[in-house]
């Protein structure tokens, strides 16, 4: 994502209205070269705004002139390309390098009286915001949050008072608008002190709704949030969409675990048997996969329906169900009591650990609560792994 021409003042001083790149070309010579390209058809938006060394972002409509230079006007409809990359990022691909340039943007045809929405420079966040702004005339002030969403960035101190104050000054916002209001998403409040922003810039922070989809209603409501706009939700789809990244995060450690499982499974009466490593190893990997699915996919999906509060315990419950299902379905698991016990324990422990890991993704656990849970369950999970490994080895003899 290096195609950025429009970081707030990158184009300062350039006049973009009616830019003509070159004097009219002699079309007869161009079409006579045999390349089959009619230069007149290339006078599209992209070439109008071309600058050496820059590429225009495909989601920029055009530029509007302001006292502080041209400001890119963004589309409110997502293209197939935006949606495809969103899907990839939701699977953890390129998730950490998906950013837009910080600075000022526009949607619709804003003027000096139009409201300013503040957001993060994670492209997923930016897309999520602009697609809800169809038909509205607004400014969007994008803070440099290093490609992280608003809430996480507010917690990490990048969506913060200092960056907001800096960005207001950097874009010359006070010369572009004639009011003193900044609409900051409520979840940004963790990092932004309204009082400090007012003292440093004169702008008054108004906390807007949590969800971008409530923005049109919030604006009609005289910039007031209803109680439901201020309440975080964590519905089934909201949880489901997070599970691919949960799985992607464990892929690397899982691969290392697979190697260990093969090694461990080869140990037996003949010291080490390749055949046994393969056969028993595959069975153990089955338990690993079952534990990952159970802890990182099933537990998040069924989160409110598992009737205990501790995540690690939720994972133990789903892990038990998964392990019992495998015992019934997979006859190899029942060849010996020790091996069977090892596989069941292993599945449950992996499930419990990954379910506990999901506390970091949910919007309702407190750091103090997570610390308490980890202190309580990490010893249990360690014991589970050690006993499972012991039983597995014992089962080979």
């Amino acid at each position: 994502m290096t195609d950025k021409i429009h970081s707030g003042n990158a184009g300062k001083g350039l006049s973009t209205s009616g830019v003509s790149l070159m004097p009219a070309m002699d079309t007869s010579t161009a079409s006579g070269c045999g390349c089959g390209i009619d230069p007149n058809q290339n006078q599209d938006q992209a070439s109008t705004y071309d600058r050496p060394g820059y590429t225009l972002c495909h989601w920029v409509e055009d530029f509007i002139d302001t006292p502080e230079g041209p400001v890119p006007r963004v589309q409110t409809r997502l293209t197939m390309r935006d949606k495809a990359v969103t899907a990839a990022v939701r699977c953890g691909i390129g998730r950490h390098q998906y950013a837009v340039a910080p600075g000022l943007y526009a949607v619709g045809h804003p003027d000096a009286g139009s409201d300013v929405l503040v957001t993060a420079n994670f492209k997923l966040t930016f897309d999520h915001l602009r697609r809800e702004l169809e038909g509205l005339n607004l400014w969007i002030l994008v803070l440099d949050t290093k490609g992280v969403n608003v809430w996480c960035a507010a917690g990490k101190g990048t969506f913060a008072t200092g960056e907001l104050v800096h960005r207001v000054g950097d874009t010359g916002l006070d010369k572009i608008v004639d009011h003193k209001r900044l609409i900051v998403p409520q979840l940004g409040a963790t990092g932004v002190s309204a009082k400090a922003v007012k003292a440093a810039t004169g702008f008054r922070v108004i906390y807007g709704p949590i969800r971008a989809s409530d923005i049109p209603k919030f604006l009609k409501n005289n910039r007031r949030t209803d109680p439901e706009m201020r309440q975080v939700t964590f519905g089934f789809m909201e949880r489901l969409i997070l599970t691919p990244v949960e799985v992607q995060i464990v892929l690397k450690p899982a691969l290392i675990t697979v190697l260990v499982l093969f090694l461990l499974s080869g140990i037996g009466p003949g010291i080490f048997s390749l055949g046994s490593a393969w056969a028993r190893g595959l069975t153990a990997i089955g338990a690993l996969v079952m534990g990952i699915v159970s802890g990182a996919v099933v537990t998040p999906m069924l989160l409110p329906y598992i009737p205990v509060r501790e995540f690690a315990l939720k994972g133990i419950i789903t892990g038990c169900v998964s392990a019992l299902a495998l015992l019934v379905l997979h006859p190899a698991w029942t060849t010996g009591a020790a091996s069977g016990l090892a596989l069941v324990l292993f599945t449950i422990t992996i499930s419990s650990f990954l379910a506990m890991n999901f506390t970091g993704t949910t919007p309702f656990t407190s750091p103090s609560g997570v610390e308490k849970e980890m202190k309580r369950y990490i010893p249990v999970q360690l014991a589970g792994i050690v006993i499972a490994a012991g039983c597995w080895l014992y089962g080979a003899f």
């Binding site: 507010a154 917690g155 409520q186 979840l187 409040a189 963790t190 990092g191 932004v192 002190s193 309204a194 009082k195 906390y207 949590i210 949030t225 109680p227 201020r230 309440q231 975080v232 939700t233 964590f234 989160l303 409110p304 509060r309 501790e310 995540f311 506390t359 949910t362 919007p363 309702f364 656990t365 407190s366 750091p367 103090s368 609560g369 997570v370 610390e371 308490k372 849970e373």
Partner: protein, 72 residues
């Protein structure tokens, strides 16, 4: 979010009502409706919903609120 609860009584959130100036900002920024205004001052009405995000503390103009989670 009443369906989603973790441990009870673990949050380190503390409110000094004597310092509260009644600006209502904490009721606006809290994502879990922990606060309500009572007698023109903020009051904690749902302590166990607190996730220690710190939004109220960052925005409190009179330092009436505090939250001090450990390393997390």
């Amino acid at each position: 979010m009443k369906d989603f609860r973790h441990y009870e009584a673990v949050s380190t959130l503390a409110l000094d009502r004597d310092k509260c100036v009644g600006c209502t900002l904490c009721t606006q920024v809290c994502p879990h409706q922990v606060f309500e205004m009572r007698d023109r001052k903020a009051d904690i009405v749902d302590f166990d919903a607190c996730m220690e995000c710190g939004a109220c503390v960052t925005n409190c103009p009179s330092e009436a609120l505090s939250v001090n989670p450990g390393v997390g």
